[in-house]
Subunit: 447 residues, 2 copies
């Protein structure tokens, strides 16, 4: 555990709470307004946060009546933000199931160039038949197959990113040689899922390649993270579960032959910050009141594969539920939600209210000091290298976090007061990756 914790702001339209858009303060058209996202990013940068993050799936999720739906493509958002900020890290989700490695590797390398080394890629395999049916498939591929494909995808992408040596461009005007062709190479990848010749049509980017992020907590997901991820987002409801996850993933990372410090684990937290604890609870209750239960009930029915008529809002979850093995995506989230409902004996109405803010992530309503305490506690107890901050309401929730919680963490010596690095990896204390094909790099790595 390093001295400083890391903070990522996970941004979602007008907030993570599904009813946030119904508050008087919220602009229900903000989700297609790039200036809105730029301002959020500038707020995060003002707070010296490590990074901002946008989730994504190539499908319209759920009923468009429920909340602002449809999103600007996140690498487009990152690019617009990149040229209007200077330090904040920029992470976006993209799917390994529904992209070509060549195109995606190039797009993230382009964002890394445009941001001068601040790009990060949250690697997801994308569950769900709805997404599959936007790409010529009838249903989502099997979970295990998706992860095998993801591993090969990352392998191809890193080869493409390394297909140019860092010093390939010689720019010799006199001799008329722009790049040394011997330092630009085909990768000739021949795998189970991909055949890609290369080289990439872009020189190696400032970070070498984007920070690799991962957010799946299933068995397959954890194994994948241990091999590839440099930062991990995870949903954890209790300190005990979070510590178990942290210890387990660090051990898996060591087992994969990596330094446990080379992977940063960031549980999600949905802070609802009030002037007093009571005020925070009122805000939370107001948001819960604004949830339309029918949309939420329908989603629960789909998640638990139960007929919607069997879901009584004033009863607990039925005893007979599918197991994680029956679920094709968000496996660990399924288990987390079942455990939460059982542990606290929640009615469906109460469960819906608990899920409204963070969809299974830990919601915490309190004062700025209490939020800072909650963060410090988990950090000091070895449950986290930092946190994935998921404001229930935006922009006000991020403003309050940056203006009220961050200064407390800074006063306690837990968080940077100024940026000391310029790249996303720099913020997370991670090294720039060596080029797997560069002989000089290889010599250094072998020592």
């Amino acid at each position: 555990m390093s001295k400083h914790l890391h903070l990522n702001a996970f941004l979602m339209s007008v907030g993570h709470h599904e009813a946030a858009w119904r508050l008087p303060e919220s602009d229900p058209h903000a989700h297609t307004d790039i200036d809105y996202y730029v301002k959020l990013a500038q707020t995060a940068e003002r707070g010296k946060l490590d990074s901002i993050f946008f989730a994504d799936s190539p499908v319209l999720m759920g009923d468009p009546g429920r909340r602002p739906s449809g999103k600007l493509e996140p690498t487009v958002i990152l690019t617009a933000v990149a040229v209007q900020t200077s330090r904040i890290g920029l992470i976006a989700t993209a799917s390994t199931s529904y992209n070509d490695p060549y195109n995606l590797a190039r797009r993230f390398a382009s964002v890394d160039w445009v941001s001068n080394g601040r790009a990060g890629w949250n690697i997801v395999t994308t569950a769900g038949a709805d997404a599959a049916r936007n790409f010529g498939l009838d249903d989502t591929p099997d979970h295990r197959v998706r992860y095998e494909k993801a591993a090969e995808f990352v392998d191809v992408a890193t080869k493409l990113w390394d297909s140019w040596d860092d010093d390939a461009i010689v720019a010799d005007k006199e001799l008329g040689i722009h790049a040394d062709a011997a330092k630009v190479r085909k990768i000739l990848h021949r795998g189970e899922h991909f055949r890609v010749d290369g080289p990439l049509n872009l020189p190696r980017s400032p970070q070498g390649y984007p920070l690799l992020v991962q957010a799946g907590s299933s068995e397959d997901g954890k194994e994948f993270a241990a091999r590839y991820a440099e930062a991990v987002f995870t949903a954890q409801q209790t300190l005990e579960d979070a510590k178990d996850f942290y210890t387990d993933l660090k051990a898996r990372t060591i087992a994969a032959g990596r330094d446990p410090e080379s992977i940063k684990i960031l549980p999600g937290i949905v802070p609802i910050i009030g002037d007093t604890e009571e005020h925070a609870r009122e805000l939370d209750a107001e948001l819960a009141r604004l949830i339309s239960p029918e949309y939420a009930r329908k989603q629960l029915a789909e998640r638990f594969k139960l007929p919607i008529d069997e879901l009584d809002l004033d009863s607990e979850l039925p005893a007979d539920l599918p197991t994680e093995d029956d679920i094709e995506g968000a496996k660990s989230r399924f288990t987390l939600i079942v455990n939460l409902a059982r542990r606290e004996r929640l009615t469906l109405r109460e469960l819906i209210a608990r899920l409204g803010g963070g969809r299974g992530h830990r919601t915490f309503a309190g004062t700025a000091v209490q939020v800072a305490d909650a963060i410090e506690d988990w950090f000091r107890q070895g449950a986290a290298d930092g946190f994935n901050i998921m404001p229930a309401v935006l922009p006000s929730g991020l403003d309050r976090f940056v203006d009220e919680v961050v200064p407390i963490l800074q006063e306690r010596g837990l968080f940077r007061t100024e940026y000391t690095e310029t790249t996303l990896r720099g913020h997370y204390g991670l090294a720039r990756p060596a080029n797997q094909f560069d002989e000089a790099d290889a010599l250094v790595a072998a020592r």
Copy 2:
């Protein structure tokens, strides 16, 4: 022919001339510097141009020693430019052979949102085995098949862009309904090449969808343009050829059931502007001297499918060449180059110098007045609705065009002195497309 002509600036690293990077004034690292592109775009906007354009192919083209190679992904460039300009139109090439319609439709719609209605898509099918081998194929699909797939791709994309009615978002905070689900629809496309359910995960964008641009001048290309394109880039060496092309494509557009004014034809011109005609010719000659003949000779050998040893730089093109039918991509460009070489009896050395600036596009060296005369002449003679300006050297060539040629065209009443519209289609005098699924729109269209 309308009263005003249209001007697009086709931007390519430090200029279209392959040796431009060797000039003392050129920054050989500019091609990965986003600030450089933003400044070029701001210059074009200062000149009140209709649009800027970036070509693209998902492959590293040619020898990286020859010139700055590798490019930032062009929708990334457009996005960075979009948030730092307010009026200039933003066009980028993307391939229908090596993208998924869902992802590409969404990305261009996102750029249209971010730019407030200034996005354009240059639709290409992408020739060449090298590109194919970055996407799991051994060779490029047949020319005809590529164009059939492109037509279906555009069909899918327009359906996705129309999958939300313009007024789908009701944002009723009181009732808790964000979008009217009845105005957001699956497209359930089932075709020869694509199966896509939809809807798009993004509301309909300011222009409805991006301006559709096309640049292929083969038979298949012209038929495709007549059906779909709203702007066409074309390479024409002589006034006669340009008039023939213009007349032919307008007739094909009428035959396809469209208004001939709904398609704007823009031949390329590579202006080399000097203080005097002699000065301009000196600049042209200096650039020609800086071409490394071996790179160019190798490219000619590939283009003409001849052994490189048979290409003598001081002789004319060999008599025995393949025909356009033997060429899989850039068919019309192949014929144009053969005709140019034969017509002017050029040695290979001379041909290489002629191709160095615009790869077959018309190069014109002269004073600003002479360039303006050349533009006015073709425009008034019915050979063009406007021009695709391809500066041989950047940024200086664009600066001179904007500062010296544009004012002459404005004085002559041929070009706007201020923007009167805010969208890319507006600049080109084109109507916002109706939504094919919207009943109110359909009623208007049927009148």
